[in-house]
Symmetry: C2
Subunit: 349 residues, 2 copies
């Protein structure tokens, strides 16, 4: 039927990175909202908070004292969900009760000594230093031969379960491949075996030709709303060069990544003139487990807000039991993000 | 290593229904919570609310007027995410941009004319009537030959995106298999082909022998915390008889299902003496697509609360990018649920 139109009709889209589908209901944006309205988060923090476990010189839960650091500061999570000293072992009863021991390292990275900042309020140079730390942490964690995967991520905003507004991210490294990464590994491998090319490089080339879902690009990175985006304003940063992990980024690329993160998060903050919450993180090649030439570095941003600073998208009943669902299209979201200023609303005259 | 202990050491568990893994961090329950605290939902509603689109005799968005119904009331969702008249069609550009038209029907079921009730506050007889409606709706929707899957679910509480506290559920029926159902279909099929038995029947027999994760049972159903539970107090109702869908439940079974739902949701409300939020729904055989003898009816309850009526579990950065994660074990949750009263806290003297 030639009447079918992605802008108008309910449809499913394939996530080529995971092999999963999502349901898109473009006609549904008219739905009024009578449900939960989130409190807006207080946004007038001091530069230094004596009660914050991330601020320089303060005490942490384990009794140690933070140094008077000037850039970033990395330490082992005081409440790590993965531990170094977990004994090996497992369980398999009739293939019905199946479990495996998990060993790992969880670290916290304070992005800045300043309690009152967030990434979009930092300079490109300051964010570059965070990228440097991500790179050196990746290298350090990959030097443990039993570590197979390193997840670098940030939860921003209390709506995303972030328990401290001091700008910071986390790294969880472990001895096995998490579910989402295993799926992306399989899909990229399949494409590489069939076509001899990087799945994301091919996808990027097509998106750059179409320009429907591109938010912006710089010399080394493209920021776009993936065709299969689940969250209303979900985006992805993809490196133009086919590189398997952050380990291989040059100085120029690291600087360009900082530029991309800064410009994207400023646009996010400007969307509803609020500190825009999200969970973001990199997906990259597994480590210490052979060659993965098909892996293509990228970074996902999953922001929950839908209509305003206080109304989010709920991934609940149908989504949990059946399939992720969204109302606005990826193309609509990209257009909206493209139209936003790269000057942070708080610094405007 | 014989020191490995599920009660103490971080580990991953296999969800045999989906093939996915989850990360369990049992040692992490000591973590203090300094993050987001949810507002408690107002809980003193009138029996009738003139502004509610579900109450008898009120006007709805499409201009129609609800009947003065006495039991349940079913109507087509005024903001359906799936529509009947979607044209067929799709898109496939180089296997990179892939989409398919989706056709479907979304219905809303008011569980009771009373605006102030929830399932745990209704009698078993009243809940039985809701089960009757689920069964007849399933039958009706399955009579459309193009419908392949029928998702019956309930979002309860504004924290679960429920925009109206009037007790109600939803049904989304569509022309294809959603992701989660496709995974469960594959896993159950595999087991059936290899062993000739129902995966869930075998699992149930093992759980009943162990008694570690059983909450309670009645003549026809078992309520348990699955070994691979993701949400803190996630449970599953499984039918003792291997039945592919609600279509085949006898009068006795329907009554026993109402009993199981009532007793489970009362325990939930008693947990934190609050109207316990959750998303719940049935998983059952696809329809109009051949025989699925391996499918075993069950119902999932996914409640978000972790520590109290106001502190929930956040499935965010690591969980979205890598793998679902939980702190308390399934065994701990089952023990806690077993210890709770089946007399609703609001009706106690
Ligand atoms: O249909 P409702 O109750 O308006 O909406 C709720 O349930 C739907 C199905 O799980 C979700 O897609 C929505 O995000 C949620 O707010
Ligand atoms: O480690 P945090 O910031 O205390 O905790 C936050 O991020 C973790 C990793 O995504 C989640 O498991 C927690 O639910 C969330 O509250």
């Amino acid at each position: 039927d030639t009447n079918f139109d992605l802008k108008e009709h309910p449809h499913s889209r394939l996530n080529i990175l995971t092999g999963d589908w999502i349901l898109v209901s473009p006609h549904r944006t008219k739905r009024p909202w009578q449900g939960k309205v989130e409190a807006t988060q207080a946004d007038d923090r001091p530069q230094y908070d004596p009660a914050c476990y991330l601020c320089p010189t303060n005490k942490r839960a384990d009794g140690s004292e933070n140094p008077d650091y000037k850039g970033s500061f990395v330490f082992t999570n005081d409440y790590s969900s993965l531990l170094l000293n977990t004994p090996d072992g497992g369980l398999n009863e009739d293939e019905l009760l199946v479990a495996n021991s998990q060993k790992g390292i969880c670290r916290v990275i304070s992005f800045s000594p300043r309690h009152d900042l967030t990434l979009p309020q930092m300079t490109t140079k300051e964010i570059s230093k965070v990228v440097d730390v991500w790179q050196s942490e990746f290298e350090d964690l990959a030097s443990y031969p039993w570590i197979k995967h390193i997840q670098i991520f940030e939860n921003k905003g209390d709506i995303m379960g972030c328990s401290n507004p001091h700008p910071h991210g986390q790294i969880w490294a472990q001895n096995s491949l998490p579910v989402e990464v295993a799926k992306e590994t399989q899909q990229q491998k399949l494409h590489f075996e069939q076509k001899g090319t990087s799945l994301l490089a091919d996808y990027l080339a097509l998106e750059l030709k179409k320009q429907d879902r591109i938010v912006f690009e710089n010399e080394h990175f493209v920021v776009l709303v993936p065709f299969w985006a689940v969250w209303p304003y979900e985006t992805m940063i993809v490196s133009k060069r086919h590189v398997t992990s952050i380990l291989y980024f040059t100085e120029q690329e690291k600087h360009a990544l900082a530029d991309a993160i800064r410009r994207l998060t400023i646009r996010y903050d400007n969307m509803f003139e609020t500190s825009f919450p999200y969970s973001a993180g990199m997906h990259q090649s597994p480590v210490n487990s052979g060659d993965h030439p098909y892996w293509h570095w990228h970074m996902h941003f999953y922001p929950p807000l839908l209509r305003s600073a206080t109304v989010k998208k709920f991934m609940v009943g149908y989504e949990m039991l059946a399939n992720p669902q969204r109302d606005i299209t990826a193309e609509f979201a990209a257009e909206k993000l493209r139209g936003l200023s790269e000057v942070h609303y708080k610094t405007r005259e």
